[in-house]
Amino acid sequence: MTTLSVDSLSIQFGGVSALTDISFEMTTGVTGVIGPNGAGKSTLFNSITGLVPTAKRKGRVTFNGADITHSRTEHVARMGIRRTFQNIKLFPELTVLENVAVGALNTNSRMVRGNAAKAAASQALEELGLTKSAKLRPSQLTYATQRQVEIARCLAADPSVVLLDEPAAGMHADDREALGNLIVQLGKRLLLVLVEHDVGLVSKVCDEIIVLDFGKKIAAGTPAEIRSNPEVIRAYLGKA
Protein backbone atom coordinates (compact mmCIF):
# COMPACT_ATOMS: atom_id res chain seq x y z
CA MET A 1 0.00 0.00 0.00
CA THR A 2 1.33 3.40 -0.98
CA THR A 3 1.14 6.22 1.51
CA LEU A 4 1.84 9.87 1.00
CA SER A 5 1.64 11.99 4.08
CA VAL A 6 2.00 15.66 4.73
CA ASP A 7 2.75 16.72 8.27
CA SER A 8 2.22 20.35 9.37
CA LEU A 9 3.39 21.70 6.03
CA SER A 10 3.69 25.49 5.80
CA ILE A 11 4.83 27.50 2.82
CA GLN A 12 5.62 31.17 3.17
CA PHE A 13 6.16 33.46 0.16
CA GLY A 14 7.39 36.76 1.59
CA GLY A 15 4.54 38.01 3.74
CA VAL A 16 2.01 35.62 2.23
CA SER A 17 1.26 32.26 3.74
CA ALA A 18 0.47 30.03 0.79
CA LEU A 19 -0.06 27.02 3.03
CA THR A 20 -0.48 27.00 6.79
CA ASP A 21 0.04 23.91 8.90
CA ILE A 22 -1.45 21.38 6.49
CA SER A 23 -1.55 17.75 7.59
CA PHE A 24 -3.12 14.70 5.98
CA GLU A 25 -2.33 11.19 4.92
CA MET A 26 -3.34 9.60 1.65
CA THR A 27 -3.34 5.98 0.61
CA THR A 28 -4.15 4.15 -2.62
CA GLY A 29 -7.35 5.53 -4.11
CA VAL A 30 -8.49 8.90 -5.36
CA THR A 31 -8.18 11.99 -3.18
CA GLY A 32 -9.55 15.30 -4.39
CA VAL A 33 -8.16 18.67 -3.33
CA ILE A 34 -10.58 21.53 -3.88
CA GLY A 35 -10.77 25.14 -2.84
CA PRO A 36 -11.28 28.63 -4.25
CA ASN A 37 -8.61 30.44 -6.21
CA GLY A 38 -5.44 31.04 -4.25
CA ALA A 39 -6.39 28.37 -1.73
CA GLY A 40 -2.99 26.73 -2.16
CA LYS A 41 -3.94 23.70 -4.21
CA SER A 42 -1.19 24.04 -6.81
CA THR A 43 1.28 25.13 -4.14
CA LEU A 44 0.54 21.87 -2.36
CA PHE A 45 1.42 19.92 -5.51
CA ASN A 46 4.50 22.04 -6.05
CA SER A 47 5.75 21.46 -2.53
CA ILE A 48 5.26 17.69 -2.80
CA THR A 49 7.13 17.61 -6.12
CA GLY A 50 10.01 19.82 -4.99
CA LEU A 51 9.09 22.88 -7.02
CA VAL A 52 8.91 25.25 -4.05
CA PRO A 53 12.33 26.55 -2.91
CA THR A 54 13.53 24.43 0.01
CA ALA A 55 13.99 27.42 2.29
CA LYS A 56 10.30 28.25 2.02
CA ARG A 57 9.13 24.76 3.03
CA LYS A 58 8.39 23.92 6.67
CA GLY A 59 6.99 20.65 7.97
CA ARG A 60 7.41 17.20 6.53
CA VAL A 61 6.34 15.32 3.44
CA THR A 62 6.87 11.57 3.52
CA PHE A 63 6.36 8.97 0.84
CA ASN A 64 6.14 5.34 2.02
CA GLY A 65 7.99 6.47 5.14
CA ALA A 66 10.83 8.22 3.29
CA ASP A 67 11.24 11.94 3.96
CA ILE A 68 10.96 13.80 0.65
CA THR A 69 10.42 17.27 2.10
CA HIS A 70 13.64 18.61 0.66
CA SER A 71 14.05 16.30 -2.32
CA ARG A 72 14.61 17.71 -5.77
CA THR A 73 11.89 17.50 -8.40
CA GLU A 74 13.75 14.88 -10.46
CA HIS A 75 14.37 12.69 -7.41
CA VAL A 76 10.74 12.82 -6.38
CA ALA A 77 9.80 11.84 -9.94
CA ARG A 78 12.28 8.96 -9.95
CA MET A 79 10.77 7.66 -6.69
CA GLY A 80 7.50 7.17 -8.52
CA ILE A 81 5.59 10.39 -7.85
CA ARG A 82 4.52 11.85 -11.17
CA ARG A 83 2.37 14.88 -11.91
CA THR A 84 0.59 16.80 -14.62
CA PHE A 85 0.51 20.58 -14.84
CA GLN A 86 -2.31 23.10 -14.75
CA ASN A 87 -0.93 24.60 -17.97
CA ILE A 88 -0.17 21.64 -20.19
CA LYS A 89 3.56 20.99 -20.36
CA LEU A 90 4.29 18.68 -23.26
CA PHE A 91 7.47 18.78 -25.35
CA PRO A 92 6.39 20.46 -28.63
CA GLU A 93 9.28 19.17 -30.75
CA LEU A 94 8.75 15.53 -29.79
CA THR A 95 6.07 13.20 -31.11
CA VAL A 96 3.37 11.96 -28.77
CA LEU A 97 5.14 8.61 -28.44
CA GLU A 98 8.45 10.33 -27.63
CA ASN A 99 6.72 12.66 -25.17
CA VAL A 100 5.36 9.69 -23.29
CA ALA A 101 8.65 7.78 -23.60
CA VAL A 102 10.45 10.65 -21.81
CA GLY A 103 8.28 9.80 -18.82
CA ALA A 104 9.52 6.21 -18.87
CA LEU A 105 13.24 6.97 -19.26
CA ASN A 106 14.05 7.66 -15.66
CA THR A 107 12.77 5.56 -12.83
CA ASN A 108 14.54 4.50 -9.70
CA SER A 109 14.22 0.82 -10.41
CA ARG A 110 16.41 0.72 -13.52
CA MET A 111 18.04 2.64 -16.33
CA VAL A 112 15.57 2.34 -19.17
CA ARG A 113 16.89 2.14 -22.69
CA GLY A 114 15.29 4.18 -25.45
CA ASN A 115 13.51 1.21 -26.97
CA ALA A 116 12.20 -0.09 -23.68
CA ALA A 117 10.92 3.40 -22.87
CA LYS A 118 9.12 3.51 -26.20
CA ALA A 119 7.57 0.12 -25.49
CA ALA A 120 6.34 1.38 -22.11
CA ALA A 121 5.07 4.51 -23.86
CA SER A 122 3.15 2.48 -26.45
CA GLN A 123 1.53 0.54 -23.67
CA ALA A 124 0.51 3.69 -21.79
CA LEU A 125 -0.89 5.19 -24.99
CA GLU A 126 -2.86 2.03 -25.64
CA GLU A 127 -4.32 2.11 -22.16
CA LEU A 128 -5.61 5.63 -22.82
CA GLY A 129 -6.74 4.81 -26.37
CA LEU A 130 -4.21 7.20 -27.91
CA THR A 131 -2.30 4.74 -30.10
CA LYS A 132 -3.52 6.47 -33.25
CA SER A 133 -1.90 9.74 -32.19
CA ALA A 134 1.52 8.23 -31.43
CA LYS A 135 3.37 9.81 -34.33
CA LEU A 136 1.74 13.23 -34.16
CA ARG A 137 3.08 16.29 -32.40
CA PRO A 138 1.27 17.82 -29.43
CA SER A 139 0.22 20.87 -31.45
CA GLN A 140 -1.78 18.61 -33.78
CA LEU A 141 -3.94 17.35 -30.92
CA THR A 142 -7.00 18.75 -29.24
CA TYR A 143 -6.71 20.23 -25.80
CA ALA A 144 -8.39 17.23 -24.20
CA THR A 145 -6.04 14.80 -25.95
CA GLN A 146 -3.01 16.83 -24.89
CA ARG A 147 -4.12 16.46 -21.29
CA GLN A 148 -4.46 12.73 -21.80
CA VAL A 149 -0.96 12.55 -23.26
CA GLU A 150 0.32 14.25 -20.10
CA ILE A 151 -1.40 11.57 -18.04
CA ALA A 152 0.10 8.89 -20.32
CA ARG A 153 3.55 10.39 -19.71
CA CYS A 154 3.00 9.87 -15.97
CA LEU A 155 1.67 6.33 -16.39
CA ALA A 156 4.55 5.23 -18.64
CA ALA A 157 6.85 5.51 -15.63
CA ASP A 158 4.78 2.91 -13.78
CA PRO A 159 4.39 5.35 -10.87
CA SER A 160 2.79 4.71 -7.50
CA VAL A 161 1.50 8.25 -7.09
CA VAL A 162 0.04 10.52 -9.77
CA LEU A 163 -0.88 14.12 -9.04
CA LEU A 164 -3.35 15.56 -11.54
CA ASP A 165 -3.50 19.34 -11.67
CA GLU A 166 -6.88 20.32 -13.12
CA PRO A 167 -7.07 17.48 -15.62
CA ALA A 168 -10.60 18.38 -16.73
CA ALA A 169 -9.92 22.06 -17.46
CA GLY A 170 -10.96 22.94 -21.00
CA MET A 171 -12.71 19.64 -21.62
CA HIS A 172 -16.15 19.01 -23.06
CA ALA A 173 -18.73 17.13 -21.02
CA ASP A 174 -18.08 13.88 -22.95
CA ASP A 175 -14.35 14.12 -22.41
CA ARG A 176 -14.92 14.78 -18.72
CA GLU A 177 -17.06 11.68 -18.47
CA ALA A 178 -14.29 9.59 -20.06
CA LEU A 179 -11.68 11.22 -17.83
CA GLY A 180 -13.81 10.43 -14.76
CA ASN A 181 -13.95 6.77 -15.73
CA LEU A 182 -10.20 6.70 -16.32
CA ILE A 183 -9.52 8.24 -12.90
CA VAL A 184 -11.74 5.69 -11.17
CA GLN A 185 -9.91 2.88 -12.99
CA LEU A 186 -6.47 4.25 -12.09
CA GLY A 187 -7.53 4.82 -8.48
CA LYS A 188 -7.83 1.07 -8.06
CA ARG A 189 -4.09 0.58 -8.40
CA LEU A 190 -2.55 4.02 -7.79
CA LEU A 191 -2.56 6.78 -5.25
CA LEU A 192 -4.19 9.50 -7.26
CA VAL A 193 -4.52 13.10 -6.13
CA LEU A 194 -6.76 15.40 -8.06
CA VAL A 195 -6.83 19.18 -7.96
CA GLU A 196 -9.95 20.16 -9.78
CA HIS A 197 -12.49 22.95 -10.01
CA ASP A 198 -15.21 20.71 -11.33
CA VAL A 199 -16.85 19.78 -8.05
CA GLY A 200 -19.24 17.46 -9.88
CA LEU A 201 -16.35 15.41 -11.21
CA VAL A 202 -14.51 15.48 -7.90
CA SER A 203 -17.46 14.22 -5.89
CA LYS A 204 -18.10 11.50 -8.45
CA VAL A 205 -14.63 10.01 -8.62
CA CYS A 206 -12.99 10.74 -5.27
CA ASP A 207 -12.93 8.50 -2.24
CA GLU A 208 -11.93 11.42 -0.07
CA ILE A 209 -11.88 15.19 -0.47
CA ILE A 210 -9.68 17.79 1.20
CA VAL A 211 -10.88 21.39 1.11
CA LEU A 212 -8.37 24.23 1.27
CA ASP A 213 -9.14 27.90 1.78
CA PHE A 214 -6.53 30.65 2.11
CA GLY A 215 -3.84 28.02 2.61
CA LYS A 216 -5.63 26.27 5.44
CA LYS A 217 -7.31 22.90 5.49
CA ILE A 218 -10.91 23.64 6.39
CA ALA A 219 -12.43 20.23 5.87
CA ALA A 220 -11.70 16.63 4.89
CA GLY A 221 -13.96 13.67 4.39
CA THR A 222 -16.08 11.73 1.95
CA PRO A 223 -17.83 13.64 -0.84
CA ALA A 224 -21.15 13.46 1.03
CA GLU A 225 -19.61 14.86 4.21
CA ILE A 226 -17.95 17.67 2.31
CA ARG A 227 -21.14 18.71 0.52
CA SER A 228 -22.97 19.17 3.81
CA ASN A 229 -20.11 20.86 5.65
CA PRO A 230 -21.10 24.42 6.62
CA GLU A 231 -17.44 25.61 6.56
CA VAL A 232 -17.13 24.55 2.94
CA ILE A 233 -20.34 26.23 1.91
CA ARG A 234 -19.18 29.43 3.61
CA ALA A 235 -15.81 29.34 1.86
CA TYR A 236 -17.37 28.84 -1.53
CA LEU A 237 -20.39 31.09 -1.29
CA GLY A 238 -19.11 33.65 1.18
CA LYS A 239 -22.14 33.15 3.43
CA ALA A 240 -22.15 32.51 7.13
Binding site: P92, L94, L105, L136, Y143, E196, D198
Partner: protein
Amino acid sequence: MNTSQPTRIGQALAGKKQLLSVAGMIAVLVLLAIAPTVITNQYIIDVLLRVLLFAILALGLNIVVGQAGLLDLGYIAFWGVGAYTTALLSSPRLGLHLDFFVVTGLSALAAGIFAIIIGYPTLRLRGDYLAIVTLGFGEIVRISLNNLTDLTGGPSGIQAIDPPNIFGIKFGYALTQYYYLAWVVLTIAALVATFLFKSRIGLSWTALRDDELAAKASGIKPLRLYLMAFGIGALFAGVSGSIFARVQGSVSPDSFVVDQSFMVLAIVVLAGLSRRIWPVIIAAGVIIALPEALREFQEYRMLVFGPLLVAAVVIRENAHRFKRRGRIAAVPSDPDANVAPQPADLIKEETR
Protein backbone atom coordinates in the same frame (compact mmCIF):
# COMPACT_ATOMS: atom_id res chain seq x y z
CA MET B 1 -10.65 23.30 -31.52
CA ASN B 2 -9.69 21.77 -34.81
CA THR B 3 -8.15 18.47 -35.96
CA SER B 4 -10.01 16.27 -33.54
CA GLN B 5 -8.68 13.02 -35.02
CA PRO B 6 -5.15 12.31 -36.14
CA THR B 7 -5.01 11.50 -39.82
CA ARG B 8 -3.31 8.62 -41.58
CA ILE B 9 -1.65 11.21 -43.78
CA GLY B 10 0.00 12.75 -40.73
CA GLN B 11 1.45 9.39 -39.71
CA ALA B 12 2.63 8.58 -43.22
CA LEU B 13 4.32 11.97 -43.44
CA ALA B 14 6.16 11.45 -40.16
CA GLY B 15 7.67 8.20 -41.49
CA LYS B 16 8.54 9.73 -44.82
CA LYS B 17 10.29 12.67 -43.19
CA GLN B 18 12.60 10.36 -41.32
CA LEU B 19 13.48 8.53 -44.53
CA LEU B 20 14.08 11.81 -46.32
CA SER B 21 16.42 13.07 -43.62
CA VAL B 22 18.56 9.90 -43.82
CA ALA B 23 18.51 10.02 -47.63
CA GLY B 24 19.49 13.70 -47.49
CA MET B 25 22.43 12.94 -45.22
CA ILE B 26 23.69 10.14 -47.48
CA ALA B 27 23.25 12.29 -50.61
CA VAL B 28 25.23 15.20 -49.17
CA LEU B 29 28.02 12.93 -47.93
CA VAL B 30 28.26 11.12 -51.27
CA LEU B 31 28.40 14.42 -53.14
CA LEU B 32 31.19 15.60 -50.87
CA ALA B 33 33.03 12.31 -51.42
CA ILE B 34 33.05 12.59 -55.20
CA ALA B 35 33.75 16.33 -55.25
CA PRO B 36 37.59 16.05 -55.45
CA THR B 37 37.35 13.67 -58.41
CA VAL B 38 35.41 16.25 -60.40
CA ILE B 39 37.01 19.45 -59.12
CA THR B 40 40.64 19.97 -60.00
CA ASN B 41 40.96 23.52 -58.68
CA GLN B 42 43.01 23.16 -55.47
CA TYR B 43 41.63 26.40 -54.08
CA ILE B 44 38.07 25.05 -54.22
CA ILE B 45 39.20 21.80 -52.57
CA ASP B 46 40.80 23.89 -49.84
CA VAL B 47 37.53 25.75 -49.25
CA LEU B 48 35.60 22.47 -49.24
CA LEU B 49 38.05 21.05 -46.73
CA ARG B 50 37.28 23.95 -44.43
CA VAL B 51 33.57 23.31 -45.02
CA LEU B 52 34.11 19.74 -43.80
CA LEU B 53 35.99 20.87 -40.69
CA PHE B 54 33.34 23.43 -39.87
CA ALA B 55 30.57 20.91 -40.54
CA ILE B 56 32.11 18.66 -37.86
CA LEU B 57 32.26 21.64 -35.50
CA ALA B 58 28.68 22.56 -36.32
CA LEU B 59 27.44 19.01 -35.69
CA GLY B 60 29.00 19.30 -32.24
CA LEU B 61 27.59 22.74 -31.50
CA ASN B 62 24.24 21.58 -32.84
CA ILE B 63 24.14 19.11 -29.97
CA VAL B 64 24.84 21.87 -27.45
CA VAL B 65 22.63 24.62 -28.90
CA GLY B 66 20.20 22.72 -31.09
CA GLN B 67 19.51 19.69 -28.93
CA ALA B 68 20.16 20.77 -25.38
CA GLY B 69 19.29 24.43 -25.93
CA LEU B 70 22.44 25.83 -24.30
CA LEU B 71 23.75 28.99 -25.94
CA ASP B 72 27.52 28.52 -26.04
CA LEU B 73 29.43 31.45 -27.54
CA GLY B 74 32.87 30.18 -26.64
CA TYR B 75 32.66 26.92 -28.54
CA ILE B 76 35.72 27.65 -30.66
CA ALA B 77 37.86 27.32 -27.51
CA PHE B 78 37.32 23.55 -27.66
CA TRP B 79 38.50 23.59 -31.27
CA GLY B 80 41.60 25.36 -30.02
CA VAL B 81 42.16 22.86 -27.21
CA GLY B 82 41.93 20.02 -29.75
CA ALA B 83 44.28 21.70 -32.19
CA TYR B 84 46.87 22.62 -29.55
CA THR B 85 46.77 19.16 -27.98
CA THR B 86 47.57 17.69 -31.38
CA ALA B 87 50.29 20.28 -31.93
CA LEU B 88 51.93 19.52 -28.58
CA LEU B 89 51.80 15.75 -28.96
CA SER B 90 53.09 15.55 -32.51
CA SER B 91 55.68 18.24 -33.10
CA PRO B 92 59.23 19.09 -32.07
CA ARG B 93 57.81 21.51 -29.48
CA LEU B 94 57.80 18.89 -26.69
CA GLY B 95 59.71 16.41 -28.82
CA LEU B 96 56.69 14.11 -28.84
CA HIS B 97 55.63 12.30 -32.01
CA LEU B 98 52.82 10.02 -30.91
CA ASP B 99 50.66 7.81 -33.09
CA PHE B 100 47.96 9.52 -35.16
CA PHE B 101 45.03 7.75 -33.51
CA VAL B 102 46.40 8.28 -30.01
CA VAL B 103 46.87 11.99 -30.68
CA THR B 104 43.42 12.42 -32.24
CA GLY B 105 41.80 10.54 -29.38
CA LEU B 106 43.67 12.53 -26.73
CA SER B 107 42.81 15.80 -28.51
CA ALA B 108 39.11 14.95 -28.41
CA LEU B 109 39.39 13.84 -24.82
CA ALA B 110 41.24 17.00 -23.78
CA ALA B 111 38.51 19.15 -25.33
CA GLY B 112 35.80 17.04 -23.66
CA ILE B 113 37.44 17.21 -20.23
CA PHE B 114 38.02 20.93 -20.62
CA ALA B 115 34.33 21.37 -21.48
CA ILE B 116 33.26 19.49 -18.38
CA ILE B 117 35.61 21.53 -16.18
CA ILE B 118 34.14 24.74 -17.61
CA GLY B 119 30.63 23.36 -17.72
CA TYR B 120 30.35 22.15 -14.16
CA PRO B 121 30.22 25.62 -12.56
CA THR B 122 28.68 27.47 -15.52
CA LEU B 123 25.88 25.15 -16.60
CA ARG B 124 23.83 26.23 -13.62
CA LEU B 125 23.28 29.38 -15.66
CA ARG B 126 20.86 29.60 -18.56
CA GLY B 127 20.25 31.71 -21.61
CA ASP B 128 22.01 35.05 -21.84
CA TYR B 129 24.01 34.49 -18.65
CA LEU B 130 25.45 31.25 -19.96
CA ALA B 131 26.17 32.93 -23.30
CA ILE B 132 28.19 35.67 -21.62
CA VAL B 133 30.13 33.29 -19.39
CA THR B 134 31.01 30.99 -22.30
CA LEU B 135 31.99 34.00 -24.40
CA GLY B 136 34.34 34.97 -21.56
CA PHE B 137 35.82 31.48 -21.31
CA GLY B 138 36.40 31.41 -25.05
CA GLU B 139 38.44 34.59 -24.79
CA ILE B 140 40.31 33.34 -21.71
CA VAL B 141 41.45 30.32 -23.70
CA ARG B 142 42.65 32.44 -26.61
CA ILE B 143 44.46 34.88 -24.33
CA SER B 144 46.05 32.00 -22.42
CA LEU B 145 47.28 30.43 -25.67
CA ASN B 146 48.74 33.82 -26.53
CA ASN B 147 50.55 34.24 -23.24
CA LEU B 148 51.60 30.77 -22.06
CA THR B 149 54.60 31.24 -24.30
CA ASP B 150 56.66 28.42 -22.77
CA LEU B 151 54.05 25.85 -23.61
CA THR B 152 52.14 27.22 -26.59
CA GLY B 153 54.77 29.31 -28.28
CA GLY B 154 52.74 32.48 -27.68
CA PRO B 155 51.51 34.51 -30.65
CA SER B 156 53.66 32.62 -33.14
CA GLY B 157 52.17 29.30 -32.06
CA ILE B 158 53.54 25.83 -32.76
CA GLN B 159 55.00 24.85 -36.11
CA ALA B 160 56.10 21.70 -37.87
CA ILE B 161 53.25 19.46 -36.79
CA ASP B 162 53.80 15.93 -38.06
CA PRO B 163 51.76 14.97 -41.09
CA PRO B 164 49.43 12.08 -40.25
CA ASN B 165 50.66 8.54 -40.69
CA ILE B 166 47.60 6.29 -40.87
CA PHE B 167 48.12 2.54 -41.25
CA GLY B 168 51.43 3.20 -42.97
CA ILE B 169 50.03 5.81 -45.34
CA LYS B 170 52.23 8.85 -44.83
CA PHE B 171 50.46 12.09 -45.68
CA GLY B 172 52.35 14.53 -47.86
CA TYR B 173 51.25 17.84 -49.23
CA ALA B 174 48.34 16.54 -51.33
CA LEU B 175 45.24 18.38 -50.21
CA THR B 176 42.91 15.55 -51.25
CA GLN B 177 44.46 13.23 -48.65
CA TYR B 178 43.46 15.64 -45.88
CA TYR B 179 40.13 16.19 -47.58
CA TYR B 180 39.28 12.48 -47.38
CA LEU B 181 40.55 12.29 -43.82
CA ALA B 182 38.15 15.12 -42.88
CA TRP B 183 35.40 13.44 -44.90
CA VAL B 184 35.76 10.18 -42.99
CA VAL B 185 35.70 12.05 -39.69
CA LEU B 186 32.61 14.00 -40.78
CA THR B 187 30.87 10.78 -41.76
CA ILE B 188 31.64 9.24 -38.38
CA ALA B 189 30.50 12.44 -36.65
CA ALA B 190 27.26 12.40 -38.66
CA LEU B 191 26.57 8.79 -37.68
CA VAL B 192 27.33 9.47 -34.02
CA ALA B 193 25.07 12.54 -34.06
CA THR B 194 22.25 10.58 -35.70
CA PHE B 195 22.60 7.82 -33.16
CA LEU B 196 22.65 10.33 -30.29
CA PHE B 197 19.49 12.10 -31.44
CA LYS B 198 17.68 8.76 -31.52
CA SER B 199 18.98 7.61 -28.14
CA ARG B 200 17.54 8.17 -24.69
CA ILE B 201 20.08 10.95 -24.22
CA GLY B 202 18.89 12.79 -27.33
CA LEU B 203 15.30 12.39 -26.21
CA SER B 204 16.17 13.83 -22.80
CA TRP B 205 18.05 16.77 -24.36
CA THR B 206 15.10 17.74 -26.50
CA ALA B 207 12.77 17.36 -23.54
CA LEU B 208 15.00 19.63 -21.42
CA ARG B 209 15.23 22.23 -24.16
CA ASP B 210 11.47 22.21 -24.77
CA ASP B 211 10.43 22.38 -21.13
CA GLU B 212 12.96 21.99 -18.35
CA LEU B 213 10.32 21.87 -15.61
CA ALA B 214 8.32 19.09 -17.25
CA ALA B 215 11.57 17.24 -17.99
CA LYS B 216 12.58 17.42 -14.32
CA ALA B 217 9.12 16.26 -13.30
CA SER B 218 9.75 13.25 -15.57
CA GLY B 219 12.88 12.39 -13.60
CA ILE B 220 15.51 13.91 -15.89
CA LYS B 221 18.58 15.30 -14.06
CA PRO B 222 19.35 18.53 -15.92
CA LEU B 223 22.95 19.22 -14.86
CA ARG B 224 24.15 15.73 -15.78
CA LEU B 225 22.56 15.91 -19.24
CA TYR B 226 23.73 19.45 -19.90
CA LEU B 227 27.26 18.39 -18.99
CA MET B 228 26.99 15.46 -21.39
CA ALA B 229 25.85 17.79 -24.17
CA PHE B 230 28.72 20.17 -23.45
CA GLY B 231 31.26 17.37 -23.24
CA ILE B 232 30.10 15.45 -26.31
CA GLY B 233 29.85 18.67 -28.32
CA ALA B 234 33.44 19.44 -27.32
CA LEU B 235 34.60 15.97 -28.43
CA PHE B 236 33.45 16.84 -31.95
CA ALA B 237 35.30 20.17 -31.75
CA GLY B 238 38.42 18.44 -30.42
CA VAL B 239 38.57 16.01 -33.33
CA SER B 240 37.90 18.77 -35.85
CA GLY B 241 40.62 20.89 -34.24
CA SER B 242 43.06 18.00 -34.36
CA ILE B 243 42.50 17.53 -38.11
CA PHE B 244 42.70 21.30 -38.59
CA ALA B 245 46.13 21.35 -36.93
CA ARG B 246 47.29 18.54 -39.23
CA VAL B 247 46.01 20.34 -42.31
CA GLN B 248 47.70 23.61 -41.37
CA GLY B 249 50.88 22.03 -40.11
CA SER B 250 50.93 24.77 -37.50
CA VAL B 251 48.65 26.39 -34.95
CA SER B 252 48.46 29.92 -33.59
CA PRO B 253 45.98 31.71 -31.35
CA ASP B 254 44.58 33.82 -34.24
CA SER B 255 42.67 30.80 -35.54
CA PHE B 256 40.55 30.63 -32.41
CA VAL B 257 39.10 34.12 -32.15
CA VAL B 258 35.53 34.72 -31.07
CA ASP B 259 34.40 35.47 -34.66
CA GLN B 260 34.90 31.80 -35.41
CA SER B 261 32.51 30.88 -32.60
CA PHE B 262 29.90 33.09 -34.22
CA MET B 263 30.60 31.47 -37.60
CA VAL B 264 29.85 28.03 -36.19
CA LEU B 265 26.79 29.37 -34.40
CA ALA B 266 25.61 30.95 -37.67
CA ILE B 267 25.87 27.54 -39.34
CA VAL B 268 23.83 25.89 -36.61
CA VAL B 269 21.18 28.63 -36.68
CA LEU B 270 20.99 28.61 -40.47
CA ALA B 271 20.47 24.86 -40.34
CA GLY B 272 17.46 25.60 -38.17
CA LEU B 273 18.70 23.93 -34.95
CA SER B 274 17.71 20.78 -36.73
CA ARG B 275 17.64 17.19 -35.60
CA ARG B 276 18.74 16.31 -39.12
CA ILE B 277 22.32 16.16 -40.34
CA TRP B 278 22.24 17.32 -43.93
CA PRO B 279 20.97 20.87 -43.25
CA VAL B 280 23.95 21.37 -40.94
CA ILE B 281 26.42 20.31 -43.62
CA ILE B 282 24.72 22.43 -46.29
CA ALA B 283 24.67 25.42 -43.94
CA ALA B 284 28.38 24.92 -43.26
CA GLY B 285 28.89 25.06 -47.02
CA VAL B 286 26.95 28.31 -47.30
CA ILE B 287 28.61 30.05 -44.36
CA ILE B 288 32.17 29.02 -45.21
CA ALA B 289 32.00 29.23 -49.00
CA LEU B 290 30.00 32.45 -49.24
CA PRO B 291 32.74 34.81 -47.98
CA GLU B 292 35.11 33.13 -50.47
CA ALA B 293 32.66 33.69 -53.32
CA LEU B 294 32.50 37.34 -52.28
CA ARG B 295 36.26 37.87 -52.56
CA GLU B 296 35.79 40.19 -55.53
CA PHE B 297 34.20 42.71 -53.18
CA GLN B 298 37.55 42.85 -51.37
CA GLU B 299 37.35 44.90 -48.19
CA TYR B 300 33.56 45.20 -48.48
CA ARG B 301 33.29 41.42 -48.36
CA MET B 302 31.98 41.21 -44.80
CA LEU B 303 29.62 44.10 -45.46
CA VAL B 304 27.96 42.02 -48.16
CA PHE B 305 28.21 38.81 -46.15
CA GLY B 306 26.29 40.22 -43.16
CA PRO B 307 23.07 41.18 -44.97
CA LEU B 308 23.19 37.96 -47.02
CA LEU B 309 23.40 35.97 -43.80
CA VAL B 310 20.46 37.86 -42.30
CA ALA B 311 18.48 37.33 -45.51
CA ALA B 312 19.27 33.61 -45.49
CA VAL B 313 18.06 33.21 -41.91
CA VAL B 314 14.90 35.24 -42.57
CA ILE B 315 14.07 33.22 -45.68
CA ARG B 316 14.77 29.99 -43.85
CA GLU B 317 12.58 30.94 -40.92
CA ASN B 318 9.68 31.85 -43.15
CA ALA B 319 9.93 28.74 -45.28
CA HIS B 320 9.70 26.94 -42.01
CA ARG B 321 6.46 28.63 -41.08
CA PHE B 322 4.57 26.87 -43.83
CA LYS B 323 5.72 23.47 -42.69
CA ARG B 324 5.03 21.58 -39.47
CA ARG B 325 5.37 22.79 -35.91
CA GLY B 326 2.72 25.02 -34.62
CA ARG B 327 3.77 25.34 -31.03
CA ILE B 328 1.76 24.54 -27.96
CA ALA B 329 0.91 28.21 -27.67
CA ALA B 330 -1.28 27.76 -30.75
CA VAL B 331 -3.77 25.91 -28.58
CA PRO B 332 -6.82 28.04 -27.70
CA SER B 333 -5.64 30.37 -24.98
CA ASP B 334 -8.91 30.22 -23.12
CA PRO B 335 -9.42 26.54 -22.44
CA ASP B 336 -12.69 27.08 -20.62
CA ALA B 337 -14.34 28.77 -23.56
CA ASN B 338 -16.15 25.70 -24.89
CA VAL B 339 -17.09 24.10 -21.66
CA ALA B 340 -20.64 23.59 -20.53
CA PRO B 341 -21.56 25.16 -17.17
CA GLN B 342 -20.54 22.96 -14.29
CA PRO B 343 -21.41 22.88 -10.61
CA ALA B 344 -17.96 24.29 -10.11
CA ASP B 345 -19.18 27.60 -11.47
CA LEU B 346 -19.79 28.44 -7.86
CA ILE B 347 -16.09 29.01 -7.78
CA LYS B 348 -14.62 32.21 -9.06
CA GLU B 349 -12.93 31.89 -12.39
CA GLU B 350 -9.38 30.66 -12.32
CA THR B 351 -7.12 33.40 -13.49
CA ARG B 352 -3.64 32.06 -12.91
